[in-house]
Symmetry: C2
Subunit: 236 residues, 2 copies
DNA sequence: CGAACGCTTGAGTGGAGTCAAGTAGAGTGG
DNA sequence: CCACTCTACTTGACTCCACTCAAGCGTTCG
């Protein structure tokens, strides 16, 4: 089923089977998208939302000179731009980082959910609030942590998210992001990102090679970067 | 009416009169709270949400050494921690900056709204997504702007929000925040905040004295800080 | 093979932080 | 009415983390 990973391990109360069926029924189409492709552009009026089945998607804002700030990185199981449903248009761009498999959900189908399935509606709302909680953590990261801690914090977060949907074993996982991408997420230059990765490796905390990440000492990394996963609302 | 400023000037479609009445009816109590008082603490289970009628409220996260990062500043008309309704507990603290008048709304009353008033539910959802949009803009601000632009951007944002509810005439407004508070919002030290305010004054952009802010040249300030208010979804 | 892209490293610079020493003003109490 | 206190604000000197500029390396792919 398409939404098997939606809110997986995210909360004790489960989505009711009939609500889950309604969600599956709301899908418009499923398709594959190549890497580095823009899905939604800022200010563009949108009539459907995108659910990520496979791959990595990011959301970002560019400054005047085109320097990019990522505001979110999405993994399978994320309803990437569900917030476009109440908002109608977005304040940022959405693009794939890797080749992706996505499902698109027309907003008119979500209208039906809102009217007929208040419980499911609350889960959808909840999922957009998880994104907001991550936004807040990113604000904290950028506002209060130094470069090394920012990088460590980012890796801790993405690992926890991937683990919740079975894409990390707690120590190593695939992450097809360049050092430039990582810099855009952490608010540091690619050159400095490179230096931070070297230092993290030298300290035996984390290693990244060819899109493969190994957390060599996750507890130490979490300590260094003041990472506390409670904001992710993951069970267990 | 209590919710007169709720989503004021925020969208063309208005909340239906009967939905508005239902919202008014959902209020538990209205009360006054002194300045610098914690309203909700991180991880605390909450059963009601807070709507701000008068005053300033902030949300924040502290790092290990107690250094604070604000993640939001709320003005009258904001449903401060509505997100606590689906989330059940918060990942951050909520506190007053000034003396405030607030309305508390029990979550059991919101359950009724969800079941019986899907249109209103969507407005409530929308309002939490506005906060998320502001979070994103704060990420951009911290990740991509230098200290002076961050400060300018913050003032542009708060002015636009205050103007939407009639608390700014576009040039001057009251803002009872200390330079320390402002630094915690912009991710810079209070000492540097002081220097930035001096520079902004020297450049004829903005003046702040005794909690009174004057935007001397709003267009120039917006240009300097790459401020584009579209993310606030304000009409007109 | 050459081009393109991503990664790596060094040298020098500068913006923001830190530390320290003040001043200004509001509120309090003798 | 004037010490006294407390908080917020102000300014200078020095430091350092991260940026910039620059050059070079390694892979992949056409």
């Amino acid at each position: 089923m398409i939404f098997d990973d939606f809110l997986r391990h995210r909360r004790k109360e489960q989505i009711l089977p009939e609500d889950r069926a309604a969600l599956e029924a709301s899908v418009g189409e499923v398709r594959s998208v190549p890497a580095r492709m823009t899905l939604v552009r800022k200010d563009e009026r949108v009539h459907f939302s995108t659910y990520l089945i496979e791959g990595l998607i990011c959301r970002y804002m560019d400054d005047r000179e085109g320097l990019r700030q990522l505001v979110a990185v999405h993994v399978p199981g994320d309803f990437v731009d569900l917030h476009a449903y109440p908002l109608k248009h977005l304040d940022h761009d959405v693009a794939t980082l890797t080749a992706c498999k996505i499902a698109t959900v027309p907003h008119r189908n979500l209208d039906i959910v809102m009217r007929e399935r208040p419980e499911l509606a609350k889960f959808l709302w909840f999922s957009t609030l998880l994104d907001a909680a991550m936004h807040r953590e990113w604000i904290f990261r950028l506002g209060r942590l130094n470069a090394m801690a920012r990088v460590g914090h980012f890796f801790c977060e993405i690992e926890a998210k991937l683990r919740a949907v079975g894409l990390s074993d707690g120590a190593s996982f695939e992450l097809a992001m360049t050092q430039n991408d990582l810099g855009e997420a952490c608010g540091i230059t690619p050159v400095h990102m490179n230096r931070m990765l070297r230092m993290l490796k030298e300290q035996g905390l984390l290693q990244m090679r060819a899109g493969q990440v190994q957390l060599l000492d996750r507890p130490a990394l979490a300590r260094l970067s003041e990472f506390d996963p409670s904001y992710l609302f993951i069970d267990e």
